[in-house]
């Protein structure tokens, strides 16, 4: 393990920074909870166990919700929902955006013009608006939430990949590969894609944060993940009704989202700094 870290400049840099260590640790903790949440939960996340709206206690660490379900257990299971939506949505954006971006950048001409007009149209819907439009069409639910948020991520990836491809194509070794008779697919896979990996990694970390925030927002509105699946956003929404008497119902899930997104944004910043030493000081937006 040590040797692997030392041999890879990116890993060495990330592991070397304390902020990066902390954010990586927190992120991995959420991944573990997402993987084993249902096993770790002391109670069922769906069954009503006891009296509603009990304050946090030794038995129910984070209290119980409006119909007597254990909030701590529901939060652990929500981690899986949030992570699943986040990763699947990012994967959708990555795959479609990557293909569009590579096609536009590599082939240029009318392919580029057409694809970029499509991207322009998708970019005309700011933030969560595109996801809302897709939800109007598909209806709410876990799968549709992933699709809706994923589509929202496509234009960003397409633009990023197109730009990177254009800069890679100017290098001499690409012409050399072509001259040696490599076909398009081989040039793209063997020579272009590896050059994109680091910027895709940085962008995807920020996209994961964006997707998790979007899922929380949609579920808060009641247009995302639907009951009986628990979700942090939905828990905040039901906690809002009892905010004065039982503020913990909304505050714990809210903190869970915030800490995860914070960790992901910090991780994204650290990765970008590590990969791009010239931009060390720059803290540009995560959209």
């Amino acid at each position: 393990m040590r040797a692997v870290i030392r041999s890879n400049p990116l890993l060495r840099e990330v592991v070397g920074s304390r902020i990066a260590q902390l954010s990586l640790f927190v992120t991995l903790l959420y991944v573990v909870v997402a993987a084993f949440g249902p096993q770790l939960a002391p109670y069922s996340e769906i069954e009503m166990l006891t009296l509603p709206r009990q304050a946090p206690s030794a038995e129910h660490w984070f209290g119980t919700d409006e119909i007597g379900r254990d909030i701590y257990s529901r939060m652990l299971v929500s981690a899986r929902v949030a992570m699943t939506v986040g990763f699947v949505a990012v994967a959708i954006g990555l795959v479609f955006g990557f293909v569009m971006g590579v096609a536009a950048g590599y082939f240029g001409g009318w392919v580029d013009a057409t694809l970029m007009r499509v991207v322009d149209v998708l970019l005309a819907f700011p933030g969560i608006l595109l996801a809302l439009a897709v939800i109007t069409f598909l209806g709410p639910g876990l799968t549709n939430t992933m699709i809706a948020i994923g589509i929202g991520g496509i234009p960003g990836y397409a633009r990023l990949v197109r730009g990177e491809v254009l800069s890679v194509l100017e290098r001499d070794y690409i012409s050399a590969a072509r001259a040696l008779g490599a076909n398009h697919l081989r040039v793209i896979i063997k020579h272009v894609t590896p050059m994109l990996l680091s910027s895709l990694l940085v962008f995807s970390t920020a996209q994961l944060a964006r997707a998790i925030l979007a899922e929380a927002g949609l579920s808060y509105l009641g247009l995302g993940v639907q009951p009986p699946f628990p979700s942090w956003g939905g828990m905040i929404s039901s906690g809002q009704r009892f905010f004065l008497s039982a503020p913990y119902m909304a505050i714990y899930p809210g903190m869970a989202i915030m800490v995860l997104v914070l960790a992901l944004n910090m991780l994204g910043d650290s990765l970008r700094d590590a990969l791009n030493p010239q931009l060390r000081k720059a803290t540009t937006s995560s959209e």
Binding site: G127, Y220, I236, K281, A282
Partner: protein
Amino acid sequence: MLVFIGKRMLQLIPVLFGVLLITFAVTRFTPGDPAELAAGEDATQAMIEATRTRLGLDRSLPVQFGLYALRAVQGDLGTSYILGYKVTTLIGQALVYTGQLALVAMIVTIVLGVPLGIVSAVRRDTAIDGIARLVALIGVSIPNFFFGLLMILLFSLYLGWLPSFGTGTWRHLILPGITLGTFSTGLIARLTRSSMLDTLEQDYIRTARAKGLAGWVVVYKHGLRNAGIAIVTVLGLNLGNLLAGSVLTESVFSFPGIGRLLVNSIFNRDYATVQGAILVIAIIYVLVNLLVDMLYAVVDPRIRY
């Protein structure tokens, strides 16, 4: 310059066409029969058929889209069958409220975000920088509906200083305005820091310092002015984020703006209003982007397209 403006205007046409197409498709292919929805609950079969003909829903899809696009271009977005008003009237009323909210959010962003970024850049790598960066990072990481709730808890429920919902006075705008501005405040602070750091490393800054100019003169007169172009651009582009963010903020505070109109209409399956609200937000966003691009070209003579 005129050529550039003309080119950008021409680029707008396919985008607007695409936006019209998406808003049409998204609401036209939803489950359920739109004629039945429009005719009302106790409509007879004959009434439903009459409505279908009146709305042109019996025509082919391309014709329907053509009619929709033609009407939309003329400023006719149809009627909300649920609320009984013209969609343009509903959106017009809602935009007045959302506009006020966006204005407060924009002020919050400028007043808090820009100084936070400047302090961070000038005191680079000190404790102050660390705190300022953390605050900015929290701004872009906290879900704004959750932040809104925390503020309601503190300022409305515990302290009783400000109302948590409703409209009418400037006091009603403060909590939702700050909530809406949280994300953009963090964003602008991060951007201001990085563009200030870039600028402060330029040769002319070193020259200014070497001339013996006071530190703050260098920072504000030479630094901020030049970093300002990037900051102003992002502030402009950020208006779209504010409009989209209003969906969540307005739901927290039951604020009667366009975001809440959109969400309520999705729940009510009031597709004419959904279509109109999404269309109007997208068009405002696209037009503001265009305007920012043009201003950018006017302000910065180095930019030639």
